[in-house]
């Protein structure tokens, strides 16, 4: 209540989120609150449920239990309607590990697609927005290129422009640099950092710990389907309290070695 008084608005609230794949419990009751403008990074070992958590937020995975609220839209997994899912999805946009651009559409058309089909904007307006966003991610010279003619880094930047175009309440990044050649990671991270500065709410699942530490307001460490520890970058990377967090960071130490 106090926070609201000073102008912090709750954007996302996840309550007791559970998800099983068969006998495999992937999410064991996740609770999470995200404020407007927050930049949250989710880190943790493979198989810890980070990606599943992200994919539950837009119902690419249907959770078995739990309530997800984004903005004024709230869905209880126990009684969910198709319509609610569509409404919820319009609140967020996603950037995928493997870019997932529409292969039969040019860079510009990829960015325009949601504007025309979902937001019913006219072509001219959509074109203007899309061109502007491609300029923002440094691809104004590639508007007419098809995804198969773009490098991984360029494709991912188009993916980011496509997500931004929808002007969503929150952008979900699912390991946005994991599929990239090492020399292309930088260009994508710098675009993400640029957007982060503009005050967009973002949730990023990532293995780029240095990057997470640099841009995040809050770090969430997940392991084995639960949130083990969460806090400021300093609290997680320097003053971590949980043994599992320490272990994980220790394993990642070589990565932490190079300076930030």
């Amino acid at each position: 209540m106090n926070k609201r008084a000073i102008g912090v608005k709750r954007m996302i609230e996840i309550t007791n989120l559970k998800k099983n794949f068969g006998p495999n419990e992937v999410l064991k009751g996740i609770n999470l609150k995200v404020n407007k403008g927050d930049i949250i990074s989710i880190i943790g070992p493979s198989g810890s449920g980070k990606t599943t958590l992200l994919r539950c937020l837009n119902y690419l995975e249907k959770p078995d239990e739990g309530i997800i609220t984004i903005g004024e839209v709230s869905i209880n997994a126990r009684k969910v309607h198709k319509k609610d899912i569509y409404t919820l999805r319009k609140k967020s946009a996603m950037v995928f590990q493997s870019y997932n651009l529409f292969q039969h559409k040019t860079a510009l058309q990829n960015v325009m697609e949601g504007l025309i089909v979902v937001q019913k904007k006219n072509i001219k307006e959509a074109q203007e927005i899309a061109t502007e966003l491609l300029r923002k991610v440094g691809l104004e010279h590639k508007t007419k290129a098809f995804p198969s003619h773009l490098s991984g880094g360029q494709q991912q930047r188009v993916g980011i422009a496509r997500a931004l175009a929808l002007n969503p309440e929150v952008i979900l990044f699912d390991e946005p640099t994991s599929a990239l050649d090492p020399e292309l990671v930088g260009e994508v991270l710098s675009v993400i950092a640029k957007i982060a500065k503009e005050g967009k709410t973002m949730i990023i699942v990532t293995h780029e710990l240095n990057f997470a530490r640099e841009i995040s307001d809050r770090i969430i460490f997940m392991d084995n389907g639960v949130i083990v520890e969460e806090g400021s970058p300093k609290e997680i990377f320097v003053e971590q309290k949980e043994e599992r967090t320490k272990q994980f960071l220790k394993r990642m130490v070589p990565e932490l070695d190079y300076s930030i």
């Binding site: 690419l60 995928f96 529409f102 949601g114 089909v117 995804p147």
Partner: protein, 235 residues
């Protein structure tokens, strides 16, 4: 026996007149079959179990039996059914006035539908799930995803298969001659019987089939190049 070469040209000109009917019997079933194929594919990848079983049975049966069977079953069976209905509802329809070509078109439409369903299904399988997920996260509904993302790519992928089925159906229309349709083979048979020059007439018919096939392939090539311009560069 010698070949009467000039008669090949005579027969050729005579058989050309059968091309419109042949094309009608080829294109109409393909067009209707395409729509059936879309519908059946949609059912087959859908969740409704009973109609999915029916759709699977339909595809399996019609791909598992020759087209001539479908024509014969519809040609002999449908009038009986219609007669019953006419009798029951006292409708002013005379079954024997229904043009035979309609039965052929109907039968071949079902044949084409089964083949199209398989073609479209494999085309859809070539679209990566990632793109479908991306379309959903953009906010599209299932219909929009199908229409704007899945089908354009599925169909572009399917062009070689569709060309095959078009050529195949052009050739399949030859069996309509068995229910006395004067398409290319029927026309050839008539010219041949009248002049007792079978070899020449069928050589002429063969050339016509071949020329039409070449044209279909040229058109398909052109369309494929346009439709697949998005896939990779150096082709």
């Amino acid at each position: 026996m010698t070949i009467d070469f000039p008669f090949i040209w005579t027969a050729f000109k005579e058989i050309l007149k059968a091309i419109p009917l042949t094309l009608l019997l080829t294109i109409t079933p393909l067009a209707i079959g395409f729509l059936i194929g879309l519908l059946v594919t949609w059912i087959r990848i859908g969740k409704a179990r009973l109609i999915r079983l029916i759709a699977n049975f339909y595809v399996s049966f019609f791909r598992g039996t020759p087209a001539i069977m479908h024509i014969m079953i519809i040609y002999f069976g449908l009038p009986i059914l219609i007669n019953q209905l006419v009798h029951y509802f006292e409708l002013p329809i005379e079954t024997n006035k229904i043009p035979i070509s309609l039965f052929v078109i109907l039968a071949l439409s079902f044949t084409a539908g089964a083949y199209f369903s398989e073609i479209i299904r494999s085309g859809i399988a070539s679209v990566t799930t990632g793109q479908i997920e991306a379309a959903y996260t953009v906010g599209m509904n299932t219909y929009q995803v199908a229409k704007r993302i899945i089908l354009p790519q599925a169909l572009a992928q399917s062009i070689p298969n569709i060309t095959n089925i078009v050529v195949g159906f052009l050739h399949t229309t030859s069996i309509a001659f068995l229910v006395s349709q004067t398409e290319i083979t029927g026309a050839a048979n008539i010219v041949a019987s009248k002049n007792l020059k079978f070899l020449e007439a069928f050589i002429a018919a063969g050339i016509i089939y071949w020329l039409i096939t070449l044209m279909i392939e040229m058109i398909s090539h052109f369309i494929e190049k346009k439709a697949k311009s998005y896939i990779s560069s150096a082709l």
